[in-house]
Amino acid sequence: MTERTPSPEADPQEATPGSPFWDLRLYVAGQTPRSVAALANLKRICDEHLAGKYRVEVVDLMANPALARSDQILAIPTLVRKLPAPARKIIGDLSQTERVLVGLDFQSRS
């Protein structure tokens, strides 16, 4: 069962045309403590820096293992920034906020 839950804050239509919209996808494998922590960390960071300008999709590879191959996922959890381009990958439980910000390239764009 794929868990594609857009976070409540996500609202692409309301995004200002000039500023970028963040389309993020978090790959997890079941409800492990690390996955839960990663999702919580992600929400916290996004709410702080990207309120209203992002969408998070959570993909459970346990339910849909074929996606691991097509999306080139190796480590769990992996956060993929699909938009804005270019795509970036961040692995780990997102506990190091600074590195997440660097990885998502938030600071320069927001």
Binding site: A29, R69, G92, S95, Q96
Partner: protein, 585 residues
């Protein structure tokens, strides 16, 4: 009782290690049947020594030949690159993928695209692997090269823990896995993967000695199984990978009582019928002593019997051999055209020793001959040392003997060295050893042949003179005189002298016979004369006697006449008749 029987039956089956055949020529022999089934095997080696190919061949052969589909995880090469690289070796990966026999997954990790932000694991890899395995029911897995992860993921502690988990997981899944790893300095692998994979470790090596590269394979470890411990050379050619095991451990080839002609009738007579089928023959001698000619005779004789022959020439090209041998009346062009005689002429320096061995293996397997000629073996010394050459010949000979192929080697003995010593000291491997030598006498050089040894047959101890005529080789008896053996002109002179001697003797006898005849004639003449004389004397005597008789008769008559004239009585006439009778008697 039935239970205990069942237990004893099960016990060996349970303890024996199940093996997954690799299908790689030679590797299954070395490993005693393949890699440990259901366990991971580590293939390590430096760059470009064929690790990927071993892993990939293991999967392809498994899928095609052993009904075991496979999953290949490429960490370095893209699937299309990989498919292209192995297409030249005859593997069509895309076709195998379409037939659900193979899954090739390219694991792309780019350090520059990845940011690490805390704890993670490699569950994604596990899921991918598991999914791929389940999708085709794979029994085999290849991971090439897992170590790429170390370069692209920073957290080594996590990686090591995950790899340990991966190998355990692979075992739990019951798949036979092949993991390739880069060779490290002073260690088998750069990141010490051997400490996780403890069941079977195979080391590949590509060594360059004297500018000639040789690939070698060694089984470092194989838990629970006997295995070859040597370094085995292997080859990568258009047919894929080929390991060349030394099967000398066995010495179990069957032997034949059948004799095959050497092509020289007189030599067959010396050997008591020819070489044994499947034996090894060495013809050694100095330069120009006729080694190749003898070899070619053997080859031509085999072709005449309708057998196939492979001739490895390392000094002359095919056309050169054919031309040269036509000068001594041996026609090689016909068997070549008929596809009975296969020439493989190459310079010894073209390949390394192992390359030559592999090539010879390959050609022999292709042509399936009954006779193989290697002319000469000494040239291998130019690419390697004597020990390696000997090892090559041991392996080659085992291979050939196993196939009951009669092999003739020629070997050049260097002037100055002992004639009975070959450069590579292979005499112990040789069944029949013919020695060709020069005799230098009376200002000329002549060839001689003798049998130094010939295992398992009565053979002549004679030295024969070896003549190269325009109708082939002829062996003639040499003359043994006070000065030693006589050959060439000396022999011919001796022959002529003996011939003239016997002529003289014949003439003498004839003369004596004539003399005797004359004597007999003279004797007979004398006997005739004597007989005539005797006859004459006899006749004379008879005449005398006759005359005597008549004169007595006349006297008696005269006396009777006288008496009658005196008395005239009849009594007197009666007595005169008595007298007559007496005189005639």
């Amino acid at each position: 009782m039935s239970r205990s029987a069942a237990e004893t039956r099960e016990a060996p089956a349970g303890s024996a290690l199940v093996k997954a055949p690799t299908g790689i020529q030679g590797l299954d022999e070395v490993t005693g049947g393949g890699l440990p089934a259901g366990r991971p095997t580590l293939i390590c080696g430096s760059a470009g020594c064929g690790k990927t190919l071993v892993a990939l061949e293991f999967l392809v052969h498994g899928a095609v030949e052993f009904g075991e589909p496979g999953v290949f995880f490429a960490f370095e090469e893209r699937p299309e690159e990989l498919a292209q690289n192995v297409r030249s070796l005859g593997f069509d990966l895309e076709d195998l993928e379409r037939r659900n026999l193979l899954v090739v997954d390219y694991v792309q990790i780019e350090r520059s695209e990845i940011e690490e932000t805390g704890e993670y694991d490699l569950e994604g890899l596990f899921l991918r692997l598991g999914f791929a395995i389940d999708s085709i029911g794979a029994k085999r897995v290849g991971l090439d090269t897992l170590e790429t992860l170390f370069g692209n993921l920073g957290n080594e502690a996590i990686l090591r823990a995950e790899l340990r988990r991966l190998f355990r997981w692979l075992k739990d899944r019951g798949v036979t896995a092949v993991i390739t790893a880069e060779r490290g300095d002073g260690a088998l692998t750069r990141y010490g993967l051997e400490e996780y994979v403890s069941d079977c470790v195979i080391l590949l090596d590509n060594r360059v000695i004297d500018q000639v590269a040789t690939r070698r394979l060694r089984i470092v470890k194989y838990r629970g199984s006997a295995h070859g411990t040597n370094e085995y050379p292997f080859l990568i050619d258009e047919g894929g990978l080929e390991v060349l095991p030394i099967t000398a451990a066995g010495l179990q080839h069957s032997v034949s009582q059948e004799r095959v002609s050497s092509g020289v009738p007189q030599l067959d007579a010396m050997l008591g019928g020819g070489y044994y089928r499947g034996s090894s023959v060495l013809v050694s001698g100095t330069a120009g002593s006729g080694k190749s000619s003898l070899a070619v005779h053997f080859a031509a004789a085999a072709c005449r019997r309708g057998e196939r022959v492979v001739y490895f020439a390392f000094e002359e090209s095919r056309d050169q051999v054919v031309r040269n041998m036509s000068s001594i009346g041996i026609d090689l062009a016909t068997p070549v055209a008929e596809g009975k005689l296969f020439f493989h002429a190459s310079r010894p320096t073209l390949y390394g020793l192992e390359g030559h061995l592999a090539l010879m293996h390959k050609k022999v397997r292709e042509a399936d001959p009954r006779v193989v000629i290697i002319d000469p073996i000494g040239t291998f010394l130019s690419v390697s040392n004597a020990m390696d050459v000997k090892s090559l010949l041991v392996r080659l000979m085992d291979f050939l003997k196993e196939r009951q192929i009669t092999t003739l080697f020629t070997s050049l003995t260097t002037p100055g060295a002992s004639l009975e010593q070959t450069d590579v000291g292979i005499s112990s491997l040789i069944d029949t050893w013919l020695l060709l030598r020069d005799f230098e006498t009376g200002g000329e050089r002549n060839r001689g042949l003798h049998i130094l040894k010939s295992r398992g047959m009565r053979h002549s101890n004679q030295v024969r003179e070896f003549l190269l005529t325009d109708h082939g080789i002829e062996l003639v008896d040499v003359y043994l005189g006070p000065e030693g053996v006589l050959t060439g002109s000396a022999r011919r002179y001796q022959e002529a002298r003996e011939q003239s001697d016997s002529l003289v003797r014949e003439q003498e006898i004839e003369r004596r016979r004539r003399e005797l005849d004359l004597k007999r004639q003279a004797l007979e003449a004398r006997v005739a004369t004597l007989r005539t004389e005797f006859k004459m004397e006899e006749e004379q005597l008879e005449r005398l006697l006759a005359e005597e008789g008549t004169s007595r008769e006349r006297q008696a008559k005269e006396r009777a006449d006288i008496t009658r004239s005196r008395q005239g009585g009849p009594i007197a006439s009666k007595s005169s008749a008595d007298l007559d009778r007496r005189s005639t008697r």
